[in-house]
Symmetry: C2
Subunit: 372 residues, 2 copies
Amino acid sequence: MKLHPDGHEKTVIDPFGTSYVADYERLYREFGIEPFQPLLPSLPNPSLYMRRGIVFGHRDFKVILEAMTRNEKFAVLSGIKPTGEFHLGTLMTAKEIIYFQKQGAQAFYCIADIEAYEDNKIPFEKSEKIAINNVADLLALGFDPDRGYIYRQSKENRVKDLAIIFGRAVTLATMKAIYGERSIGLYLAALIQAGDILLPQLEDFGGPKPTVIPVGIDQDPHIRLTRDLAQVFHNKFGFIPPSSTYHKLMKGLDGSPKMSKRLMNYFTLDDSPETITQRISNAFTGGRPTIKEQRELGGVPEICPVYEICLFHFVEDDEDIKRIYCECKTGKLLCGEHKKQTIDLVLKFVEEHKRRKNKLLDKAREIILNKP
Amino acid sequence: MKLHPDGHEKTVIDPFGTSYVADYERLYREFGIEPFQPLLPSLPNPSLYMRRGIVFGHRDFKVILEAMTRNEKFAVLSGIKPTGEFHLGTLMTAKEIIYFQKQGAQAFYCIADIEAYEDNKIPFEKSEKIAINNVADLLALGFDPDRGYIYRQSKENRVKDLAIIFGRAVTLATMKAIYGERSIGLYLAALIQAGDILLPQLEDFGGPKPTVIPVGIDQDPHIRLTRDLAQVFHNKFGFIPPSSTYHKLMKGLDGSPKMSKRLMNYFTLDDSPETITQRISNAFTGGRPTIKEQRELGGVPEICPVYEICLFHFVEDDEDIKRIYCECKTGKLLCGEHKKQTIDLVLKFVEEHKRRKNKLLDKAREIILNKP
């Protein structure tokens, strides 16, 4: 299957073919990332992201699949860089962890405050406040803190100690190849992230086990670095190289390839209904220049960020999203109407989410401030 | 005063003019290291190393001098890389710390086990054992643990956290300029060392205060890096840039510029009397080819490692060492006789030291294993 960013050509009819990744074939061929799709039939209960091809690739996911089907222990870890409020990108990672937790994984959620400090210059006093808010979001989404571990890098000495141990095995050349010419702190943050990824396999957490890291494809260099380190230190710790899944990255609402604070082309779960309404109303779409053309040719959901947010987040039923896709493609559903429907769905979700979240802020504060 | 490695020329008659440092003038002129000698008259109770010019340079020692004379609080920190037994080099640093502790300093002794790991590949389980032995030496030499703080880097989270905070401000270029192309772990160890040096100034230890770091001149790059970091983070922590004193480095017993495990040109405080006797007996000296020549021309104590170990460690009285110097210079004291005297002094010291040390091994174990 060849995906193409320009749906006009209609070479592919695929309701899940949004968020074009530049060159899947190359990722598969040159970087050793395997396509996820062939695993789908074996998965007892694939997530929305898996079913819709948003999770498109993996490394070593088969060991996770085996653990899941044999009811053996496994772990999931991912996290958030505490730089701001939950948006639709961080929401995706949170949902992926919660999905695996519900499938029986020991779940780890890392607040990457050292990375926020080294990379984004956010002082720890500030990221602490941000983290409390982020964790309340995570809990509101259904993360069970009693069966999972939420921690800040800056307070988790086991992670820092792993980074120190790993440091000996990483050359400057490797770091420069992955991250370019940066501060030592940024390289240290990368080693700490390797520590995060292998934390679930320490004896304190039950020892070596398959661990899956659900991330955006842009995070693969961290995964490769950590898989290398897992091998180098296998004799000492018994590490199993971590598995990963890769999801597509969401576009900005203005149609640009990335969400960006500067462009204000996204919204957060803390934004007001007015802001959210305005951002979606002003969004770029896959619509045609005129209504007449759109009725005749149909829209282009493949390039449409409004369709994308429905596909990723706000239309849960696969039949519903397929229907929207078809109605758009056939010119039945116009952009104005679809934006209106989408705004309703988003506001309904955000309102309910905020209600749940407000009750969990104290719990989030307790997790962030009281745990060692 | 111009020192010259070859005493033959007799341009300088100076009983303390051993251990030639290649170019003092350049250190003073280009690197901002100040000569120590002008401060001597102001020091109420200078140490043996200060009196004998073994401590030859400093940065900002005046703030220490002021604190000492005004009875204000100040700190001293130095340490050991736990890679082996105490030798005459590590002995020197230990004595310097103990000197400052006796002058009223809050004393910190750092076991640089992270550096031993990153630089010398010594696993933490091994450096722990070495550290216990090293600390027993330190205590036997007179360090008062009740008025000082002995710690391992790997267990001191405040030091690791400072390293993480400092990382943001240190570029790769700086690290490469100081340490060359090394592993990330080695660079991390350097940041951790900066954390060590500024640890005494944290609120947990009473807040900012003048701190002196007695080191060999080869350690100056660490001092400069840390002084820069103290300035960068002054607003956050109130750091006063650390002061330093620089001592000359001891030669090998074979006359080569450095003590080296490979060359076996030194002895440790744990060596047997037989080994020590043998090493000193076989040492290079500043003697002449024949007894006749030596009676006529005198010896050359300036290049003699046997004279040097007396000067640095085993002849405490300044008048005694001056007498030895003169007797050698005038051909009165020959090498065989002086070696014999020196062996007696060393064996007596080592025997008494071992006796004291054996009683302190349990205390050392307690300090290394039980403290958080």
